[in-house]
């Protein structure tokens, strides 16, 4: 198979928490322009894997390569500097600040020249202009870019978080259950937005519990079980019940049983 080089690659990641083995030699690849979903039961190691990739945890063993080069992230800041942005499920925004300020939070644009250097003066106009342009490109509708985030719906707030990740991620974005806190319609908005982010060429890793969403969004689905990657499937090659069966470790005969049971009566 002539695949392009993976953007992000992990080999044999191991992570222990005391006696608990969270990752037991897990592998991972993300190729340019794709959405990879990671699924797995609770405790399968998907959170630990994602945290190792985003720098929130340091694996005990194994290696991570970014564009072919070995990297070691000691903090989320390291990963961010390497061009990896993460969106969290719990709406990591500052509600009282406006949208533009949230987009630029921690990366504020200062005036060029002495005003910016000596007086640290923020270039609010530039930040608003750039944020508005970015929102227009991603087709996120908001009343005003100068609106405090607390005036937005949950879906729009998560939209701000996704837009921020898309703006600053030079290599890839990680979305850790981005819709877990949202209602049906708001989830829809965020999923559509993630699609548009991918269409702009940014590869995305997404963790989700929601199988229909995973099958709708992902190009490839990585299935974790007991700290290992047990399979990589695609929505074209596998059905949802099959993926769930692999995830839960059902045997082949159990799987066939499950499939016949679920087949509609004719």
């Amino acid at each position: 198979m002539s695949q392009p080089e993976p953007i992000l690659e992990a080999r044999g990641l191991v992570k222990h928490f005391g006696h608990v083995v969270a990752l037991d030699g897990a592998d991972f690849e993300l190729y340019p322009g794709e959405i990879v979903a990671i699924i797995g039961d609770n405790g399968a190691g998907k959170s630990t894997l994602i945290k190792s990739l985003s720098g929130a945890l340091q694996p005990d063993d194994g290696e991570i390569r970014l564009d072919g080069e070995r990297v070691r992230f000691r903090s989320p800041g390291d990963a961010r500097r390497a061009g990896i942005e993460t969106v969290y499920q719990d709406l990591a925004v500052a509600p009282s600040l406006d949208i533009a300020s949230n987009i630029f939070l921690g990366r504020e644009a200062r005036w060029r020249g002495p005003l910016g250097l000596a007086l640290r003066l923020l270039d609010k106009r530039r930040m608003r202009r750039e944020a508005a342009q970015h929102f227009a490109e991603l087709q996120i509708g908001v009343q005003s870019i100068a609106q405090p985030v607390e005036d937005l719906s949950g879906g729009q707030r998560q939209g701000v978080a996704v837009a921020r990740a898309a703006k600053w991620a030079r290599r890839l974005a990680i979305m850790d259950e981005p819709t877990a806190a949202l209602g049906v319609r708001e989830t829809r908005q965020v999923l559509d937005l993630i699609q548009r982010v991918r269409e702009r060429g940014l590869p995305v890793i997404i963790i989700s519990h929601d199988m229909p969403h995973v099958f709708e969004l992902a190009d490839r689905i990585l299935i974790m079980r007991l700290g290992k990657r047990v399979a990589v499937v695609t929505p074209q090659t596998h059905t949802m019940p099959e993926a769930v069966a692999i995830m839960t470790g059902a045997t082949k005969s159990e799987l066939e049983q499950a499939l016949t049971k679920e087949a509609p009566p004719e």
Partner: protein, 326 residues
């Protein structure tokens, strides 16, 4: 799309909105006292209000920084008292150069800020407990260091900010001017710099700020240290105003009034919301009430009573709007 472009013209409502309430409260209070006392609106009296507000106002700047990060600094008054004793004792008893004495007094307050900030960020203690501790430590040190003596006959350098200049037929002190300058600097730092954004973000959603790569401990530490600096400057102003180094100064009235000014000014005790301009208005409201109640002959104890009610009112408004947002 048009919404976005029109948005570019929307002025910063963050600055405008929260100060409207405090400003109306100020107008109402001034209207009330000008009806009840014909002296209230005289230039000399209003200038006096500002002089009375000056110390609390500067304390309240530091307090605003701290409360914006969802903290509170109960030690501001006693830390100022300690700084004031350091300045005056060094200058009067030890005969140290007065400017150096002022510097060392301010440094003592900055030291307390460093201690508060270090405990809040390093040991992860709640600001309330930390500053309740340092309140008592500063109180004790003030009395130990001064042997309960009051220092008077201060060198003129220590009195500079109490001196007046005249505009029209109204006297203003240099200290009042310094207070306005400090409010201006604080406003600039909070609204026009990245540091200010980070202060709001830390108070608004600490975890989000951390995840966004903001060094939250560094922001918090800087806030407590800068608060200590403002308490030191307030100490200098207090000395200039009272012309004394008094170990009993600043311990109840100023301490509570500083917090009252911040809350009356619309800054939320939950953090992340408010403005230092609101605090200035809040400090003036407190000053207007104290001055006005004195003018119409209300006993001093009732001033405490009224301030207490004002605080509870302001906190209730804060609580109700917070609940509506949540």
């Amino acid at each position: 799309m048009t919404a976005i472009t029109s948005a570019l013209r929307v002025p910063g409502r963050v600055l405008a909105a929260p100060t409207v309430g405090p400003f109306l409260a100020l107008l109402l209070a001034m209207a009330f006292f000008s009806i009840r006392s014909e002296n209230f609106l005289e230039g000399q009296n209003l200038s006096l209000v500002l002089q009375q507000v000056m110390v609390v106002g500067v304390l309240a700047i530091g307090q605003t920084f701290v409360i914006l990060t969802a903290g509170i600094d109960l030690s501001c008054g006693t830390v100022m008292a300690f700084g004031q004793i350091v300045m005056t004792k060094l200058a009067v008893v030890n005969g140290i150069d007065p400017l150096l004495a002022i510097g060392l007094g301010i440094l003592a307050c900055v030291g307390f800020g460093l201690l508060n900030g270090g405990l809040v960020t390093g040991v992860k203690l709640p600001a309330f407990i930390v500053t309740l501790g340092t309140l008592n430590i500063a109180f004790a040190l003030t009395h130990v260091y001064s042997n309960d003596e009051t220092y008077s006959d201060l060198p003129s350098e220590l009195l500079f900010f109490g001196k007046t200049f005249t505009i029209g037929n109204t006297d203003f002190t240099y200290g009042v001017v310094l207070m306005f300058v400090l409010f201006g600097i604080a406003w600039y730092a909070l609204t026009q710099t990245a540091w200010g954004r980070h202060v709001y973000a830390v108070g608004d959603n600490l975890e989000a700020a951390r995840l966004m790569g903001i060094k939250v401990n560094r922001v918090l530490l800087s806030v407590y240290v800068l608060a200590g600096l403002t308490y030191g400057i307030a100490a200098m102003l207090l000395v200039a105003r009272t012309e004394l180094g008094d170990p009993n100064a600043g311990q109840t009235t100023e301490n509570l009034d500083a917090i009252t000014a911040v809350v009356l000014g619309g800054t939320s005790l939950f953090g992340g919301r408010g403005s230092v301009i609101g605090t200035l208005i809040g400090a003036v409201v407190v000053g207007v009430f104290r001055n006005g109640l004195t003018l119409i002959g209300v006993e001093v104890v009732w001033q405490y009573f009224v301030t207490g009610i004002l605080v509870i009112l302001a906190v209730s408004v804060d609580q109700l709007t917070h609940r509506r947002r949540a």
